[in-house]
Amino acid sequence: MDKKTQTIKRFSKLFTDNSSRIENNSAGLINSYRGDAMKQFVELGIPDRKNESYRYTNLDPWFNADYKSYFVPGEEDFKAAENFECEVADLNSYDLVLLNGIPPRYNGTLDGLPEGIWVGSLVEAAEKYPDLVARHYGRYAQNGKDGLIPLNTALASDGIFVYIERGVTLTNPVQIINLVHSDRDMFVQHRNLIVVEDEAKLPMIVCDHALSPQKFLTNAVTEVYVGENAHFDILRVQNEHNNAAKLTHTFIHQEKNSYAVSNNITLHGGLIRNSTYHRLNGEGAGSNALGLYLTDRWQHVDNFVSIDHASPNCTSNQLFKGVLDDFATGAFNGRILVNREAQKTLAYQKNNTILLTDDARMDTKPQLEIYADDVKCSHGATVGQLDEDAMFYLRSRGINKDEARLMLMFGFAREVIEKISTEALKIRIDDLVLKRLRGELSRCATCSINCDK
């Protein structure tokens, strides 16, 4: 039996042995998807490097490890979350803490949340608003080749649900803080659903942190529905330690004239894989997929982006930039698919990476797949080093080498940060990135737990 089959067997067994435990902690609607999803997973397995979209990322060491816990965390784990504080200066946000993928169940009432918005546990929502959840759950997370998605559907018991009613606009963001904390190695899976109704506006921040030095593997699927004329903005800040792997799959389904921004800022993490899918399903929709990755040591970051232009007159933009230090490796796979109906499409894509050492490595694979003729599409990718002329310019003005290097790297990264719409957050990310580039950031400044081991 080869490795792949073994892994499949192992997860099938886990599923059968624990299905009652998973299901008891979840809702009927969500449970009804599990059987088929497991079947699909058995067919696909964990994606290996033969899978074109995982060509540069090796998941084997993470999935062949033995985790002590795969499912619901214990009561005591929730308590630990209370210690955590993540403050963004001057940022008024509605915070929700998820510990090991499980949100607290308190009926969707966050402090000070305005009318028309519901933020809380998906399981709770499935019980309270079954029709609403049924209308969207499992509809957008479609990728026939990635076994991690059905694995999540089969095994994840809960996650967050955000619902914003038609016409309601939120100025301050909803902040989801994803914590992993345990005294045992853990495999965490959670499943999120976000519904932005027509003409609504929802900004969101997701922060990923690991609080204890154990080995963590997170496989998270997020489905987002963005209605007509609606506006959705999601910013993910990833800051986990080197023994943590984070696999995220975000599916953003956009209706007519909607606008959605996804931004993945990776500061730290053993292995990070962000798959972002924008489906432009209605005419006139626009999307912006952004990413910034700053990695060192043995870290690996892989950004996969798929923009599916299914309707005419849509616009999409991709901008991914990164700096790789030490032995870090990076991968980028951006895909623009323009369907035959999607005339008058404008789609752009850019990926720039700076390698700081000879041991750092970048693999980039920008792709265009175009079936309509009246389009303007372009992509550009570069891999290189800091500009010598710019370096000389700074040095000749008396700036020392390290400082000049830092300035150039920061300037390079700034292009992505600039696109963040919330001012307070922009300042905060600026600060984080600067610290990261200085090598000072190993954890968030306000965090009381030292997780950099």
Binding site: M362, T364, D373, D374
Partner: protein, 482 residues
């Protein structure tokens, strides 16, 4: 307007493929099918030495262990490898020494194709190795070239007369284990061209191979090996055509180039295999492995291709930049129309220090065709100061065709600078308007724009070819107004 455009489009696309005729000559073929005995039979027919047969058999074993590659953006119908004739040769007497002994029908065929086999036509100044079906028919200017020490002959002749050279270089650039089609070719290849340029020699004329598929139900498997010693220079041309037939025919070739220190090899192709009719029936499956190695310092290999033919093209002329300061170039225009499919591009593997490569790829899709660029730029760990620039543009003429780009960039050295750019668009209405305004018809305007678009690549072709390519481009596209 729309209707008129459609009309023109129809006229052009239903226009005859100029080279679609069939010559009725005496052929020697072997039965259909592929097995070890067939491999032995081919080898025996060619009176090959034992080492050659061994090479073929090893390749055949390797092929059996391989699966047809599925990764390309192509829909390839199942190919029945047992339904193909692996050896077909025009019957001729052994040991031709003068043109008079060639079957006049055969000569006529090549004359019709505009390939000068008569050495009297010195004006053209191109030495030709003509390959029909499986067999090299005639190599011109052999004697003139021999005076300079240049060896230019058919592959079988090279196996017989220069076994040391063939042994030394064959399979070093494209090993028989390389891929499915390379293994197939290595097992059953029937002929091809061999070219050796000795040290310090600048080849005075362009060398050329002309491939012609004639017989039905056959596959063509030829092999080209080019060796350029230190400080030498060679410009090599390749052309190909086939008769119009309803069934598909397989062409799986290998081209290997070795460039030693300071050597420069320019390899230009105008690929015009029969592309099938406008309903996508028939046409050649063109699955070719082309690769060159810049072995020595300062060596240079340049690939230029104009791809207009074939029902399906699967072709990635590549450069391995092993020598320090070596450079590789790839210039391509790929045109697809009707139901044609092309998945083509290049690989630039930077191994040596200060190596440079440039990729310019222009795709043009019309009709219901699918045109993909697929390329790899790889900078290995020790390849410091490597530099690459790639530009891949696609032009769409029509709303039923597709243009795709799949570049791979893998950089493992911080001093490397790799840039990739790609754009996809249709011809700007403003551009056409500008031409219309100056009295140029839409039809001509498109020809003008497409030619301008492809100019960067066409300019790299040798003169004789550039003219042909330009015409070909016009024929393939005129009227494909989207």
């Amino acid at each position: 307007m729309e209707k008129e455009q459609d009309k023109i489009l129809n006229e052009v696309t239903s226009g005859d493929y100029k080279y679609g005729f069939y010559t009725d000559i005496d052929m020697e073929t072997i039965p259909k099918g592929l097995n070890e005995d067939v491999v032995r039979l081919i080898s025996a027919k060619k009176q090959e030495p034992e080492w050659m047969l061994e090479f073929r058999l090893k390749a055949y074993k390797a092929w059996q262990g391989k699966k047809m590659p599925q990764w390309a953006h192509l829909k390839i119908p199942e190919i029945n490898y047992q339904d193909i004739i692996y050896y077909a040769a025009p019957k001729q007497k052994a040991g031709l020494s003068s043109l008079d002994e060639i079957d006049p029908e055969l000569l006529e065929t090549f004359n019709k194709l505009g390939i000068p086999l008569e050495e009297q036509k010195r004006l053209t100044g191109v030495a030709v190795d003509a390959v029909m079906d499986s067999i090299s028919v005639k190599t011109t200017f052999k004697e003139t070239l021999a005076e300079l020490g240049i060896i230019f002959c058919s592959f079988s002749e090279a196996v017989r007369e220069h076994p040391d050279l063939v042994k030394k270089y064959m399979g070093t650039v494209v090993p028989y284990t390389d891929n499915y089609f390379a293994a197939l070719n290595s097992a059953v290849f029937s002929d091809g061209s061999f070219c050796y340029i000795p040290k310090g020699v600048r080849c005075p004329m362009e060398l050329s191979t002309y491939f012609r598929i004639n017989a039905a139900n056959t596959g063509q498997f030829e092999r080209t090996l080019i060796v350029a010693e230190d400080d030498s220079y060679l410009s090599y041309l390749e052309g190909c055509t086939a008769p119009m037939r309803d069934e598909n025919q397989l062409h799986a070739a290998i081209v290997e180039i070795v460039a030693e220190r300071n050597a420069e090899v320019k390899y230009s192709t105008v690929q015009n295999w029969y592309p099938g009719d406008k309903n996508g029936k028939g046409g050649i499956y063109n699955f070719v492995t082309k690769r060159g190695i810049c072995k020595g310092e300062n060596s240079k290999i340049s690939w230029t291709q104009v791809e207009t033919g074939s029902a399906i093209t699967w072709k990635y002329p590549s450069c391995i930049l092993k020598g320090h300061n070596s450079s590789g170039e790839f210039y391509s225009v790929a045109v697809t129309n009707n139901h044609q499919q092309a998945d083509t591009g290049t690989k630039m593997i930077h191994m040596g220090k200060n190596t440079r490569s440039i990729i310019v790829s222009k795709g043009i899709s019309a009709g219901k065709s699918q045109n993909s660029y697929r390329g790899l730029v790889k900078v290995l760990k020790n390849a410091s100061n490597a530099r690459n620039f790639s530009q891949c543009d696609s032009l769409l003429l029509g709303d039923k065709c597709g243009a795709h780009t799949f570049p791979y960039v893998e950089v493992d050295n911080q001093t490397g600078i790799v840039e990739h750019e790609a754009t996809t668009s249709k011809i700007g209405e403003d551009q056409i308007f500008y031409c219309n305004q100056r009295g140029i018809s839409t039809e001509d305007a498109i020809g003008l724009i497409v030619n301008g678009y492809a100019k960067e690549v066409l300019n790299k072709l040798p003169m004789e070819f550039a003219v042909e390519a330009q015409k070909l481009l016009q024929i393939s596209l005129e009227g494909s107004v989207g």
